[in-house]
């Protein structure tokens, strides 16, 4: 449970709020590079941390991220003309470059020099790992880009998608680090019931998740604070003398990873506040050793796992609450626990059903919620530290993000951090 004050502190991210200030200390994924693909292409709208922005790529290929509204009469620059190294408001012709400088003001006499005095809010943008990242914080505190493995592999070794979720970012992260929900929400009916047929099917599977995940529905959690955030270790019984361990990271301010098994691709998320009631869910799948296989592309195309098909303009998933996520009650009876296709839509359906900002004073947590408790407590500590002028360490140390999730079977006597040491170091 959280108090009202703590819940508010964590979930409000507009400019001037403590969590808003905290998120503004990091580079945040803002757009796919493909949203502004070429010089002088059409500008696009973007909402981030409650701020309405316009992104555009100028004639020289530089990306600008500026306030959506022209400082003159507050008209939207979405209608603007992207021309000759600037975005021109089509209402009265004021033109702004990627730094926010007003470079032309044709409706004012030039002798007034008014254009030299006018600026529009502009934020730094960087292209990295197929994404345009934005920094909305103070100029003197510009952080390092996080050295995340998925951002550094070759393009054919990764796939990135973005979707809009109608909840606050925090309950989306909570879903990302809550290992115990996958035994239920993402299970097939036969796996949930652990039928003899299911056991026969998975008993020799090389996929550890399929083999062990559902045999122990009450996993034990261990958390460890690190320079980048948290490592969350989840232990399930495997064989008589072994445990099946799944290790995932929570990387500040809002990145997570799904436990990785060597030879398969790795999946991760970044959950970015769009405003207090919606968030951007960035999903990354990458193979550190080889191009994504046909099987991996098939899972992406068919939305069976973590990616979802979206409207290309709004990034709202096609399976959404207006169509009940296309739930199929027949499939729910016989095949899957939810009857909803794909892990992404299953997560989104349940998280959105909690309301845009869940009232955490009314929840009933247990010890299986340890990872969620740890993540909240860490974010609260970090936000309060910044209120005391203590800058976040991870924001200025991009190297600490060079880690990887893991899953493995270890002898019961071997501590997880010892057994996982080699597996959790990123390799690219």
């Amino acid at each position: 449970m959280l108090s009202h004050e703590e819940n508010d502190l964590l979930t409000h991210t507009a400019a001037g709020t403590p969590a808003g200030d905290y998120f503004r200390r990091y580079w945040l994924p803002a757009l796919m590079t493909s949203e502004v693909p070429a010089p002088d292409c059409p500008p696009v709208r973007l909402r981030l941390l409650g701020e309405d922005l316009i992104a555009f790529r100028d004639t020289q290929g530089r990306v600008g991220l500026i306030d959506e509204f022209c400082p003159h009469r507050r008209a939207s620059l979405f209608w603007g003309r992207n021309e000759e190294c600037g975005l021109r408001c089509v209402y009265h012709g004021w033109k702004f470059d990627t730094t926010g400088a007003c470079v032309d003001m044709p409706n004012e006499p030039p002798e007034y020099g008014f254009d030299n005095k006018v600026r529009i809010t502009a934020y730094p943008a960087r292209e990295y790992g197929g994404i345009i990242w934005a920094y909305l914080g103070p100029a003197g505190q510009m952080p390092e880009l996080p050295k995340l493995e998925w951002a550094r592999v070759a393009e054919n070794q990764r796939y990135i998608s973005k979707r809009r979720q109608e909840t606050n970012y925090l309950q989306a992260i909570e879903g990302g680090i809550d290992s115990s929900h996958s035994n239920f929400l993402h299970a097939s009916v036969e796996a949930f019931r652990v039928t003899d047929e299911y056991l026969e099917k998975v008993k020799n599977s090389s996929n550890l998740r399929a083999r062990y995940h559902l045999l122990d529905k009450s996993p034990r959690f261990t958390v460890k604070k690190t320079d980048y955030g948290l490592v969350i270790a989840v232990r399930r019984n495997a064989e008589e003398d072994t445990y099946y361990w799944r290790l995932t990271q929570f990387l500040l301010p809002s990145h997570t990873m799904i436990p990785y098994q060597k030879g398969l691709s790795i999946h991760g998320h970044c959950w970015v506040p769009r405003d207090d009631e919606t968030c951007w869910v960035w999903t990354m799948s990458w193979n550190p050793e080889a191009p994504l296989s046909e099987e991996e592309w098939k899972a992406i195309r068919e939305e069976t796992f973590v990616h979802a098909r979206v409207d290309p303009v709004t990034f709202r998933p096609l399976r959404n609450k207006d169509n009940n996520y296309q739930i199929d009650r027949n499939r729910q009876r016989g095949e899957s626990m939810t009857g909803i296709h794909g892990f992404a839509a299953q997560d989104q359906a349940l998280q959105e059903s909690m309301g845009p900002v869940v009232d955490r004073t009314r929840e009933r947590l247990g010890t299986s919620d340890t990872a969620i408790i740890a993540m909240r407590r860490l974010l609260l500590q970090e936000i309060r530290a910044l209120q005391q002028n203590e800058e976040p360490f991870a924001a200025h140390h991009g190297d600490v993000y060079w880690v990887r999730s893991a899953s493995m079977v270890l002898n019961r006597e071997v501590p997880f951090d010892e057994g996982a040491r080699e597996l959790t170091a990123a390799e690219v």
Binding site: M1, F221, T222, K225, R364, T367, T370, I373, L380
Partner: protein, 92 residues
């Protein structure tokens, strides 16, 4: 007493509450506080379920105490939380 272990909370018996209090008394690190918070959350949850079935003054007191103790852990005061919990334990 190892504060890095999570107490299994199946009930709110004196044995369970005593174990949580004992762990609170030796907790020092971030991770320990998280585990204690999880245990107190669990006590708060199961006492709420019990109260919904049957009102009981002693259980209601424990429910409130778990809430206060939980907040004290959040403030980094596990020993004060332990003392609070021990105060209500004999009543259950």
């Amino acid at each position: 007493m190892n504060p890095a272990h999570i107490v299994t909370v199946r009930d709110f018996s004196p044995v369970t509450l005593g174990a949580i209090a004992a762990h609170l008394e030796v907790s020092t690190d971030f991770e320990h506080m998280v585990y204690r918070e999880a245990e107190l959350d669990a006590i708060w949850s199961i006492t709420a379920f019990a109260l919904a079935q049957k009102p009981d003054d002693a259980v209601a007191r424990l429910h409130e105490t778990a809430h206060r103790a939980h907040d004290l852990v959040g403030e980094g005061r596990p020993r004060d939380a332990a003392a609070l919990l021990r105060k209500v334990t004999p009543a259950i």
